[in-house]
Symmetry: D3
Subunit: 238 residues, 6 copies
Amino acid sequence: MRIDKRQPDEMRPVEIVPGFLATAEGSALISVGHTKVLCAATVEETVPAFLRGSGKGWVTAEYSMLPRATQQRTPREVNKGRPSGRTLEIQRLIGRSLRAVIDLRALGERTVTLDCDVIQADGGTRTAAVTGACVALAIALGQLVKFGAVPKSPLRELVAATSVGIVDGEPLLDLCYEEDSRADVDMNLVMTDSGQFVEVQATAEQHPFGDDRLASMVSLARAGIARLVEAQKEAAGL
Amino acid sequence: MRIDKRQPDEMRPVEIVPGFLATAEGSALISVGHTKVLCAATVEETVPAFLRGSGKGWVTAEYSMLPRATQQRTPREVNKGRPSGRTLEIQRLIGRSLRAVIDLRALGERTVTLDCDVIQADGGTRTAAVTGACVALAIALGQLVKFGAVPKSPLRELVAATSVGIVDGEPLLDLCYEEDSRADVDMNLVMTDSGQFVEVQATAEQHPFGDDRLASMVSLARAGIARLVEAQKEAAGL
Amino acid sequence: MRIDKRQPDEMRPVEIVPGFLATAEGSALISVGHTKVLCAATVEETVPAFLRGSGKGWVTAEYSMLPRATQQRTPREVNKGRPSGRTLEIQRLIGRSLRAVIDLRALGERTVTLDCDVIQADGGTRTAAVTGACVALAIALGQLVKFGAVPKSPLRELVAATSVGIVDGEPLLDLCYEEDSRADVDMNLVMTDSGQFVEVQATAEQHPFGDDRLASMVSLARAGIARLVEAQKEAAGL
Amino acid sequence: MRIDKRQPDEMRPVEIVPGFLATAEGSALISVGHTKVLCAATVEETVPAFLRGSGKGWVTAEYSMLPRATQQRTPREVNKGRPSGRTLEIQRLIGRSLRAVIDLRALGERTVTLDCDVIQADGGTRTAAVTGACVALAIALGQLVKFGAVPKSPLRELVAATSVGIVDGEPLLDLCYEEDSRADVDMNLVMTDSGQFVEVQATAEQHPFGDDRLASMVSLARAGIARLVEAQKEAAGL
Amino acid sequence: MRIDKRQPDEMRPVEIVPGFLATAEGSALISVGHTKVLCAATVEETVPAFLRGSGKGWVTAEYSMLPRATQQRTPREVNKGRPSGRTLEIQRLIGRSLRAVIDLRALGERTVTLDCDVIQADGGTRTAAVTGACVALAIALGQLVKFGAVPKSPLRELVAATSVGIVDGEPLLDLCYEEDSRADVDMNLVMTDSGQFVEVQATAEQHPFGDDRLASMVSLARAGIARLVEAQKEAAGL
Amino acid sequence: MRIDKRQPDEMRPVEIVPGFLATAEGSALISVGHTKVLCAATVEETVPAFLRGSGKGWVTAEYSMLPRATQQRTPREVNKGRPSGRTLEIQRLIGRSLRAVIDLRALGERTVTLDCDVIQADGGTRTAAVTGACVALAIALGQLVKFGAVPKSPLRELVAATSVGIVDGEPLLDLCYEEDSRADVDMNLVMTDSGQFVEVQATAEQHPFGDDRLASMVSLARAGIARLVEAQKEAAGL
């Protein structure tokens, strides 16, 4: 039995509140268990230098945690003068994941920035961020359609993410913080609505693993992601 | 008539949700009109070097805005490598305001850090931060009493803050962003529960002002702060 | 009796040496007691991005202390990689104070930068900087008139500043360092030649204060600023 | 046919020169085709703060590219003031990979730092760095055994890495730069001598992929890594 | 004839005002022509980590220019986040020069920091800084003797510096800014009171030079430094 | 007898491998005893802002040491956020030395950047860098001639550098690290093929020195540089 009484293949409760912010073109507050991430989409009529004149747009992401998202206060990265390696790695992951399902040419020379700010953290913040950011992006792109800037949404399909891991020798879906910190293998999967892989990241801490473990983790994640996509569709009104 | 149909001496609706975060010793989400600030208190059993061995504690604050708190996205300060002058000025103000009503000796060699993160901004974020942080602080100190760390709360009295300004020649209470950006004089007042001044900051943009204007702004602020203190007491259960 | 034998309403000796630097368009070395600040004005034919094409100019300030301005050596901020919050707060104050008395449209698309470098510090460095910078500015603008760049000086009136405080329960004018470090309330006032307020900043350290204290501090400051304006006029030849 | 005339399942020529540096406890210059990485191991009798007193050691890595490792000069990261996100991500990967095959308790309270500096880059620099660093580590640990600091090498088994990708719809082993920049899917695998996974990282650029693609890429990589382990054993004299 | 009507072997007027600052243990304001440098010595009862427990002291220097020391305003280095290469090079030169004439063992475990701040610049600021700093150092060490901290001054002899150069094919002593910017060869010499070399730095810009030029520049400098040492002795009361 | 059995006027073995990198326009790996520096030249069709439109080119250099170039690991400067003063000083020296022998007008509006990365360090890294960089520069300029970008090489003559010092009272040529760390006087000389001085830098550590010492060090260096120029000519095929 897991610490929060879940089955090995059971996700935590998922809630996605669309339009949480009055200020942003698209936004969503996603809760996965006690993990809460506020995702906001900003559309700007400009692109990075390497895309100017290409007719193509760009999607990028930034990630941060409020200091008291965690049980112990985490010092702000601004006071160290730079984002940590972990932060940079996560925001690169979110950006890549979203770009994999966007038709950048259909977006036109626009940049969409997804700000993912963790309000409360209990494991799986990066995967919740991918899942919530996709909803904020879908809403913002819907606005572009509504105002006639693009004929149809450049979002090809939805993308969502979850974590799986091997804890005490057993594969578990959607690790909470306590499980994550004891896991022998930690894996994050990003998949599309249609069940294709966008990102596969598995890391063995001290215990390398074999093909069978890889297969069972992928299988657990696939089921979880299907659940997340349902929540996304409902939130985004798709 | 003001842009949001208020009277000159009328504050925006105030709401304070205590205990918003499961992770922090004390927390409060304060809304003043569309301005929303999440305040979290962290108690640590340590003090800055200049207080070690003094028997006295410390109260400090950090302030930040999420990028899409504003209508136009504001770039994260972490990417510039340092907090801006505005941010440093605000967090110094919050810290000083709270220290003015705390018995630092009764606190003992502990530091309380108040993290004030603006979720949505429509003017008056620094004054909302002072008001909300005082509630988070009161709750965290209540926890110290409950667990026997201190015999009674080191908080002498509550402190709250509001803004006033001269707009189109008329003194107005609690400026929203649109009013603030047109104001000839902009003033922030921090006062105690008992009506004493903690901070007085008035700035003339292009139009210096006389004693009468100073007096009428102080008078407007005093009434507004009384309203805020009521909301604080209710939220903190005092 | 005060530590340097002054009366409560007595300022320290004030001296302003105009044209101290051969290199700058305008400069002044101001001494207020042992506090000495070198102020230099630089006029550049450019404006910040937000003013380009507006027909309006800009006035800004930078502030710094030499390491041995103080009794204990203060490490240089360049070695920490950034100006401190205190420095940023002070240079924002100086810039705002001067902009309040300048006709930025009459200045045209030019920027005047006031460099205020503290050579020796004994309290009141920010107020001495405002007072000295106004003289350097007046001289530099006089040069613009002389060379026909503007028909008349865009300086509407002079601006000067002093500190007041409550020490051992008594309001005192123009605090020296020793008094400042013991003050219950510390106030800086910036006023125009005609006696209007430009900035009012009062801070209670541990002891909040009432309306009567505010009034008596304002009254002391007003008299001191009148004295400073006389010294400014003499130095600037107005 | 590939650009360099290889078969899809053919690796580039691999050469590992052990002991390239006279200065380091262990070192290796690895060449994989035109990619050359100099790996140096440093053993220090200290551990990071979080391990002090734990009896356990630590293995970490740093990664950098010389500016002219690339066809176009790449500016030095030191001049931007910080390592890029890509650099941090790679050095975290190298460190994790090596820690997965080390008995940190048997290492004792020592830190081994692996410096991986890319002399010439033609794709696959991070996987070459993992492979070369493992040889430098094995040599340095051999020195510890030789000087009696530890009874036997704390290295449980070797670890090596290669890249695979889908280019023009075809799975290819060991991508050179030109192939990597055209790949639809880019995957890095880190595996042990015994064929277990340590890290699995697959990323779809624009084209999500299915289970079959994942399986064929893993299979290609497994064969390549077996080749690399042979070269490692020869170089390290195991 | 030189721009300021000097002979080739003629120095600019030199003035050294000892004790310019009331705040520092030793200080001197040195003027060499229009170049003015304020030098302040700070004595601290501590040494850098590499000297702790060695019984030896340390002498170090910091150098900076006020923004309007120059005809065109020079931006402050603090706003770039770091001292420039030029600044670091100069402060290393000043520190080395002074350490060459100090008995660091006789100083005991103390650090003397020499702050050299250029108030006005017209060429030769680094050599004026060496010359002025030596006076500030001598005064501060005299204070140590006076208060019984050391039996006699650890200063073995005085050190002073000047520049020479080849301008339009002619060797000139003590270059002003205008000459320095046109010089084919630029040389700085630091010598002791007894005429020994401490630092010799000569740089050819575009025109390499021969032994005869080197000899004539050294000879000019030697005469100039003798003059500076006289001014130092008078200022330091030696 | 010296530690490595050389005569006082004997250089260490010198080897220069031209074209070490396949990626760069010009490159050379220079070994002077155990010191090895990899030098790479990059030609770019742009110049710094201060030269735009001048018809003149620029030559600049960057210098760095790999962490395990040294017997004790040296932390990477990128992790401190900035190049050290020593690094900046060295790269300024290399750039100046090369510019002294280049006809910048004949180069046209191009920048050549010389990257000098120390692979292994045993004293004299800066002088080896100057010597090796000159070969890389000569090769890169030869490419410009070959491709018709310039009619003939803008390199007027070769430039090379070595160190000399006074160790235990005796002048020695080409100091290794162990000698350098014991030297009373440390001198670096940069000279042209035709025996003219480009840079002369001598520093006394604790022991100021006289004219005779200066003369004997210059004489030793002159002989050593003649040897280096021979090796350069052979490597560059001149």
